[in-house]
Symmetry: C2
Subunit: 315 residues, 2 copies
Amino acid sequence: MRLGVDAMGGDYAPEAAVLGAIEACNAVSGNTTIVLFGDERQIQEIIQRENRLLPNLEIVHTTEVIAMNDNPTSSFSAKSDSSIVVGFTHLKAGKIDGFASAGSTGAMMVGCMHVIKQVDGIIRPTIASTIPTVKGGKTLLLDVGINIDCKPEVLYQYGIIGSIYSREVLKNSNPRIGLLNIGEEQKKGNNQTKAAYELMSESSDFNFIGNVEAKHIFSGEVADVFVCDGFVGNTILKEAEGMYAAFKSLGVKGIDFLDALNYENEGGTPVLGVNNCVIIGHGCSTPKAIKNMILQTEKTLKAGLVEKIKETFCE
Amino acid sequence: MRLGVDAMGGDYAPEAAVLGAIEACNAVSGNTTIVLFGDERQIQEIIQRENRLLPNLEIVHTTEVIAMNDNPTSSFSAKSDSSIVVGFTHLKAGKIDGFASAGSTGAMMVGCMHVIKQVDGIIRPTIASTIPTVKGGKTLLLDVGINIDCKPEVLYQYGIIGSIYSREVLKNSNPRIGLLNIGEEQKKGNNQTKAAYELMSESSDFNFIGNVEAKHIFSGEVADVFVCDGFVGNTILKEAEGMYAAFKSLGVKGIDFLDALNYENEGGTPVLGVNNCVIIGHGCSTPKAIKNMILQTEKTLKAGLVEKIKETFCE
């Protein structure tokens, strides 16, 4: 298995990205190779400084970088030798099995939509995030920020995609799919959730359990998957991030649940509904976060997630 | 000052409501009277069992109750001798200065809109909630669940109303008003926030500081007021509620910030933009929550909040 990693992506790149990849080299399976895309001289400097033998690390030299504030679409065209563009070209050509980056989310989505493309039948690819529960498990939240003001049909497809992810990656045999809402009654919510409820309540594609509230997201007792619009999902993630920072600033320690809220342990969010395995990391990723982003790429590939989604939608 | 309280409102009424009112009798100012609306026999039974002398408690006997699952509008018409309807009638007539209930939010809003009515110039009254910060302060979040899919002009008015609340009740001399969004850049967000940003960025009615993210809500460092749609605000509140429950279930203790997240300490949310002081409590209010709801009513009245909002909008 060959995992492509953007060495130039993220606020602390290439330093954090390369250090994270070095750590990951020892943590991945024996037959897995990590392929770094970036400036070879800079990457080699960091590797030599660390003085590590890395038989399962390869470098693909690239000369350009898409910056966080570059226009995603135009820079994707203009910077054809950037780490992200070359990474996607390798992914499309089958030279790597998955590609992960903590760089420009916009450019990563351009690569998803224009190079590897969405799976036939998928209206909108989505990004999902797992949320830790107090019992040590994980619930799944989607969408977490790519699709804003999305149509009820899109939320319906999140139900299908979330169900596959929960089953294949989180190993829930019959995942409970909830529609995130501000009350449990059928008539609650905004125009979007009311229309989505109508569609989802007639679903035979997944196990719909009705409306669920954000207060249940950390318990794991009510639903396995929380479906929502990207604006709402992103807000939920950001609030959890703020809560983590709040408790850390107060010196709270030794609580596994709190530590699990640290984005570094998650590493990244998979783009679901595209033809290959793509993982997007947090912009301010540390080496630990990059390492976990790479391990998540391997885990997602091993679960055969992309194939399962394709099978379902191309039936 | 005369504070009206619905003795029949809430999941544990009349027990919790009356016990909370008894506690509040000793906590309010010397010249404040608490007026309970409800079944006099049931109320007296609880008071006599507690064996307390309550010179500042009055009872207005009512024979009906609007239940949580009653249709708010039709039950408000049909149950004219219910505690909520009689409470609003007294409020309108000036026999009480404020009215608080942990009963049907829908029926309370019917009372607000049809009996005491909204302030001239206000498009939509709103409900707000304070959010504790790690430094022991409070930020203000609005709307927290009444107005869903609201127009940009409504969000703009929340900026004005939130600014007044923050200044008069939370004592911030120049409150920083942020638009809750999923990124800080101007062009971020959904159609609603993009349009609201346009309006708010030209405001001379309040101190607009731009887009703010939910991760900043507990720090108190970025904004004093977070303006958002009721769906988003309610979701933020519910997530905080879930987070509180999560940490409590893990046995975390001795953290003031965590204790402040307990809704019981807040008591209720004021309805802002109507002609009198109305406070809505949590459906599952305990006696402690009811007591704090009553104290919040007194605090809101003392701050002259309703008058300040009227002055601003009727200018």
